[in-house]
């Protein structure tokens, strides 16, 4: 076996995993805290990608520099949606939350087609196709940057949840709502903030996705499925787990293409999912049940 090729495939997998991780971060957060499996998560990534596209194509704002704009705009969208719509199902049975977020994903997707048309788009800053050569290895620049953003955001999320008052309140609410309320946490605002952060992360992920892939209104559903798998593999308790889950998935998919065949990438990733559910049902970094 060609060692250079294997090393290249591993690098590809790690970069892909970083992108996966940042896409899944918001889904895992919302799932862990609000107990809502947000089936519209991929649709929000799609909206974020279009936002970046318009910022870049319309106003000339670099997609990486525009990420904070994405995050803030999508945070506001998420906050408002949670207060107005999703708060209705926070304590409802799982089925209701699935139904409402599925409906949301359908509505967002079709509104996106009306607003943006079915044209394929790409966010194509001059450096998007550049790469850095390391001997025989090639590091795609946009993916490297996306990977860096993913690591920074994951660690920032981790520190935020662990160290800040708001972050602790979010974790406390996830662990024990009654106790958190006794300590003065106002759940309505807190839930909306958490959902807003989740959607803000999806918005940022969309901007990154658009620089390495093509965008159309229908990319959401498959991305949601990926994020779902990563959240389960990584666990919901810890953003670092999500990063690990993304990396595991990225590397396994890349290796599966090399050794088994390209049609088996999804089979391999869902096999890992099943394996994790059997062996470590709370995720790779999750605490024992």
């Amino acid at each position: 076996m060609d060692v250079g090729l294997l090393a290249q495939i591993l690098i590809n997998g790690v970069f892909l995993g970083g992108l996966y991780a940042i896409m899944a971060l918001g889904l895992a957060l919302v799932w862990g805290v609000l107990n809502i499996v947000n089936l519209a998560h991929g649709a929000f990534i799609m909206l974020g990608a279009y936002l970046s596209w318009y910022l870049y194509a319309g106003l000339g704002i670099d997609p990486f520099l525009g990420l904070p704009i994405n995050a803030v705009v999508m945070f506001m969208v998420g906050y408002a949606l949670q207060r107005g719509l999703l708060n209705l199902v926070v304590r409802a049975p799982m089925f209701n939350t699935l139904l409402i977020t599925f409906g949301l994903e359908v509505v967002l997707t079709y509104l996106a087609q009306l607003a943006f048309s079915a044209d394929f788009r790409t966010i194509n800053p001059p450096y998007a196709g550049n790469s850095i050569a390391l001997g025989s290895l090639v590091l795609p620049q946009a993916r490297l940057m996306a990977f860096g953003v993913a690591v920074v955001l994951t660690v920032a999320m981790w520190a935020f949840l662990l160290r800040t008052k708001l972050g602790r309140a979010i974790r406390a609410t996830a662990q024990n709502l009654v106790a958190a309320r006794l300590y003065g946490v106002e759940p309505r605002h807190l839930y909306a903030t958490t959902f807003g952060i989740g959607i803000g992360l999806a918005g940022a992920a969309g901007g990154l996705y658009g620089t390495v892939s093509q965008i159309n209104p229908y990319i959401g559903a498959t991305l949601t499925a990926k994020c779902f798998a990563i959240s389960i593999i990584g666990g919901l308790d810890n953003p670092l787990g999500v990063l690990l889950g993304g990396l595991v998935l990225g590397v396994i998919e890349s290796l599966a293409v090399l050794y088994i065949g390209a049609t088996f990438a999804d089979v391999a990733s869902f096999s890992v999912l099943v394996l994790v559910l059997i062996v470590r049902p709370r995720g790779l970094l999750g605490k024992a049940a």
């Binding site: 090729l5 892909l16 394929f120 196709g129 892939s213 290796l255 049609t263 999804d266």
Partner: protein, 403 residues
């Protein structure tokens, strides 16, 4: 009466218009039924068929319509949106023939749809002329009521392989990549023997999942193998990702060619300068030599089409127009709208159209040679046709950092 009730009624009306329920149909009209992808993942190409069908029907009606037994009759279209869902499209075709009682059928886009939907036309014995499905599977079942105006999928790369043998420096090894659906599998199955006969070795032969968005592993293998030529049969979304990722991994084979995307304006818009050098194929180019009864010629058609819809027609649109024209001419030849008579007229049809000479083979499929094309600058250049080179190929493709 509150305003909200009006707005609800308005919304329902709007939905009805969108879904085509309100298509005006007068008693004497000959109704053609179709279900195409107006929404969902295939909407990007599906809409070409809607535009093409409507454009052709309007044009034929402007010219007075179709002469049936000495009487002029207009054509009408009954169109549903199948939301890119095969199962829904089968139900809609069933509804078109059983409930809406349309006279004749036009097809959906894409082979897997045509494959499923042609079972309906066969069962109810209503001829379907479809220009969206090229897979050989559609025509290998001895169905009598399905006619296709796309060239056979198995031969999509036929002209390309011929060209490969005449290129200098001669390419040696080939990577064949294809998606796991009816059309692309047919392309791959047809291409393998062509490559073998041409003495070219297949270094990589890989099927991938239709929704794949990451090609980094495959690209790294192509680079590591030093493969000269990549032939890829897939969907436009995958091909866009493939090209972008090839650039970011600095993978530049001597030549790559794609079954779809390259002829469409959308492809060049999405990729910008990176679309350059991409090879593809088209069974149709808007040439003034292709004379047409209703549109004058193909060049005039392309001009009118662009003026009306704001984008250049590619072979999908021309194929869709050819479907309507084939039905119109067959009705006139049969002198009747009876499905069985129209079916026989279709089988014997000989019509020079803007799409090329329309004549269906024994299996119902047309046979048109593909023309190899390449993106050069911001236009499509014809490179290689049935009689050899018709343009100068930009070959081999330079490295990405040398452009």
């Amino acid at each position: 009466m509150s305003n909200s009730r009006f707005s609800v009624a308005g919304a329902i009306l709007a939905a009805a218009i969108v879904l085509g329920w309100s298509t005006a149909v007068s008693a004497a009209d000959i109704v053609l039924g179709a279900s195409v992808q107006l929404t969902g993942p295939s909407a990007n190409t599906g809409r070409y068929y809607k535009d093409a069908y409507e454009f052709a029907i309007d044009k034929i009606n402007e010219a007075g319509g179709v002469t049936v037994g000495g009487e002029k009759r207009k054509l009408a279209l009954k169109l549903y949106d199948n939301q890119s869902d095969v199962n829904l499209s089968v139900r809609q075709y069933t509804q078109l023939v059983s409930k809406d009682k349309v006279d004749l059928l036009l097809g959906p886009f894409a082979s897997n749809f045509a494959l499923a939907d042609s079972a309906v036309s066969e069962k109810y014995q209503i001829p379907m002329v479809q220009g969206g499905g090229a897979s050989d599977q559609i025509f290998s079942r001895k169905f009598k009521y399905i006619f296709g105006t796309l060239a056979p999928a198995s031969n999509y790369f036929g002209t390309t392989v011929k060209m490969l043998k005449e290129l200098d420096p001669a390419p040696k090894s080939i990577a064949l990549l294809y998606a796991d659906d009816a059309f692309d599998v047919s392309v791959a199955e047809g291409t393998r023997p062509l490559l073998k006969d041409a003495g070219l070795s297949i270094a990589i032969d890989e099927k991938y999942s239709s929704n794949a968005s990451d090609f980094n592993s495959l690209l790294s293998q192509i680079k590591s193998n030093g493969t000269d030529v990549v032939l890829m049969a897939g969907h436009e979304t995958e091909i866009l990702n493939f090209v972008r990722q090839a650039k970011s991994l600095a993978v530049a084979p001597k030549l790559y060619s794609f079954t779809v995307g390259v002829p469409s304006e959308d492809f060049r818009k999405a990729l910008g300068a990176d679309a350059e050098y991409a090879f593809g194929m088209a069974a149709w180019l808007p040439s003034a030599d292709l004379k047409d009864r209703w549109f004058g010629d193909a060049a005039a058609f392309a001009k009118d089409y662009k003026a009306k819809f704001g984008y250049d027609p590619d072979y999908h649109a021309a194929s869709g127009v050819a479907d309507v024209e084939a039905l119109a001419q067959a009705i006139e030849n049969a002198g009747d709208t009876d499905p069985a008579k129209v079916r026989d007229a279709l089988a014997n049809l000989k019509l020079d159209s803007l799409y090329g000479p329309l004549a269906f083979g024994e299996n119902g499929q047309i046979d048109l040679p593909q023309i190899v094309i390449q993106v050069q600058g911001d236009a499509i250049a014809p490179i290689y046709g049935a009689k050899g080179f018709v343009g100068k190929p930009k070959y081999p493709m330079p490295a990405w950092n040398a452009r």
